[in-house]
């Protein structure tokens, strides 16, 4: 069953001009439990606006969003409760830090969720261990390096144990190792705890690597939703969205011209490598 359903979502900023354009224009899609969804599109295509709708921060001009089958726009809907189940991490999450110590900051969301102080701090410590920064728990978040701050900010959302985790460009500003670790961590959550993942990214190679579903947005409209290969190899869609194909598909296409047909279901980095090794 789909965990999240977006129906004919339209959104426009009220800027008192008649010509005001829709930032989101009739967007519909559904996401199943355990999906790993990538949202791609140029800057200004409406990606960030879209995810701000998914946990009810923005109210759509028209259309509906169903979480587990019930509309989040119902009058008596508990939006704060929803935000613990759908965790959104915005771009530059380090700007949300405010507490005196790292552990206090991470525990903030858990306490707001209703956990007792002991439980919240216990859970926060576990999460810090997950990010390998438990030694920083009593430091002030403002004395940390950029990468560490970002990890603390991530931990502050993870601690609420949401069913759906949403990220806006999570890897911006992370070094190579931290980036790989981060993706491995959410992959593990996705596989072991069935957490649904939605992420916005510019890096289409990462989409090929991690996602099982891709949404392409352009000027507020949804151009296509589907499996990574299906979507990212669609020349017309990619051209309309003004995006370059990921390297895996470029290589696939180049090899096809040369007469080698690779398996389209095996285009993750290691799979591609193995396929290329087998070519003689």
């Amino acid at each position: 069953m789909s965990i999240l359903e977006v129906k004919n979502l339209k959104y426009q900023y009220n800027n008192y001009e008649k010509t005001s354009k829709y930032v989101l224009d009739d967007v519909s899609f559904s996401i199943d439990e355990k999906d790993f969804v990538a949202i791609i599109g140029k800057s200004g295509s409406g990606k960030s606006t879209l995810i701000s709708h998914l946990n009810g921060l923005y109210k759509a001009t028209s259309g509906d969003i169903l979480y587990n089958g019930s509309s989040i726009y119902r009058k008596d809907y508990n939006l704060t409760g929803l935000r613990f189940k759908i965790g959104v991490v915005f771009q530059y999450p380090e700007y949300q830090l405010f507490s005196e110590t790292v552990i206090d900051d991470v525990a903030f969301g858990a306490i707001k969720k209703g956990l007792s102080k002991d439980e919240a701090y216990k859970k926060s410590e576990e999460i810090l261990k997950l990010f390998e920064i438990e030694q920083l728990k009593n430091e002030s978040p403002f004395n940390l390096s950029g990468g560490e701050k970002r990890k603390v900010a991530f931990a502050g959302i993870f601690v609420m144990e949401p069913e759906i985790l949403i990220f806006d460009e999570p890897d911006a500003g992370l070094d190579a190792t931290s980036k790989t670790n981060f993706y491995n961590l959410i992959k593990k959550l996705n596989e072991e705890k069935d957490t649904t993942i939605i992420f916005i990214t510019h890096n289409l190679d990462d989409v090929m690597e991690y996602a099982n579903k891709v949404i392409v947005l352009n000027e507020g409209k949804l151009l296509k939703i589907g499996k990574p290969y299906e979507v990212l190899s669609d020349e017309e869609i990619m051209k309309n969205a003004d995006l370059d194909m990921p390297y895996a598909i470029q290589i696939f296409n180049d090899l096809k011209i040369k007469g080698y047909n690779l398996d389209t279901n095996k285009l993750k980095f290691n799979e591609l490598y193995n396929q290329m090794l087998d070519i003689n």
């Binding site: 008192y16 701000s52 946990n55 965790g87 700007y95 949300q96 830090l97 405010f98 969301g109 502050g156």
Partner: protein
Amino acid sequence: MIRDITLGQYYKKDSIVHSLDPRVKLVATLVFLVSLFISTNIFAYLFATIFLIIAIYMCRVPFKFIIRGLKSLLILLLISIFFNLFLTPGKIVLSLGIFKITKEGIIIAIKMAIRLIYLVIGSSILTLTTTPSKLTDGLEKGLSFLKVFKVPVAEIALMMSIALRFIPILIEEVDKIMNAQMSRGADFEHGNIIEKAKSLIPLLIPLFVSAFKRANDLAYAMESRCYSSDAIRTKLRPLKYKKIDYMTYAYLLLYIILIFLTRYIKIDGIIKFERFL
């Protein structure tokens, strides 16, 4: 609510008001504010209203956009009306328990409301039709006589223009931080005053952190572009009065004279009208 603040926002349009010299607009705003506070009777308010309507019409900024700034002032407005209405001694018109509404209270409350509303609309028109840099250029040039007294007019002007430029950026930032904290379960809407004040901490600290970082970055960027407070700067568009500017000055003079004259108008009908209130 935060997006409703129109102060310091510029609204791009080609209109006569937009093209006026900023010094003229500054003087006009000042004259208008003064006129509001020396207005004593309905004639004066009538002239002020006409003046405002002409300005609104000529600047071609959508009316809805201009009055957006009022929303954030609503509470202040209500408080002022409340105090004037109930706390002005005088002839009692209506009494509700300990609250007594007096005739004088009603008049003062109405006057205060009009003044506040006109004041906000008037200054909104100034900032909506003048870019921050034009505005500060105008201030700099208009106040340049203060340089004689060692007042760093140019620096203050630059500081103001930068402050104005950063208002929309910081407003957007407040929005972003609010969204981020609300995603962690923060609640800015419910609870009593103490709880609400407490809930602002997660908002203000990140805002300050980011504002300081921005200030630091900006200082580096400005220095890289050869900014130095001792050097004599030139201007891309030096201010120069045009014919329309002199004409506007003339109209302004006419306006303030008219307002002054209203103080001496005593017509029976009007006085009766006041008594009726």
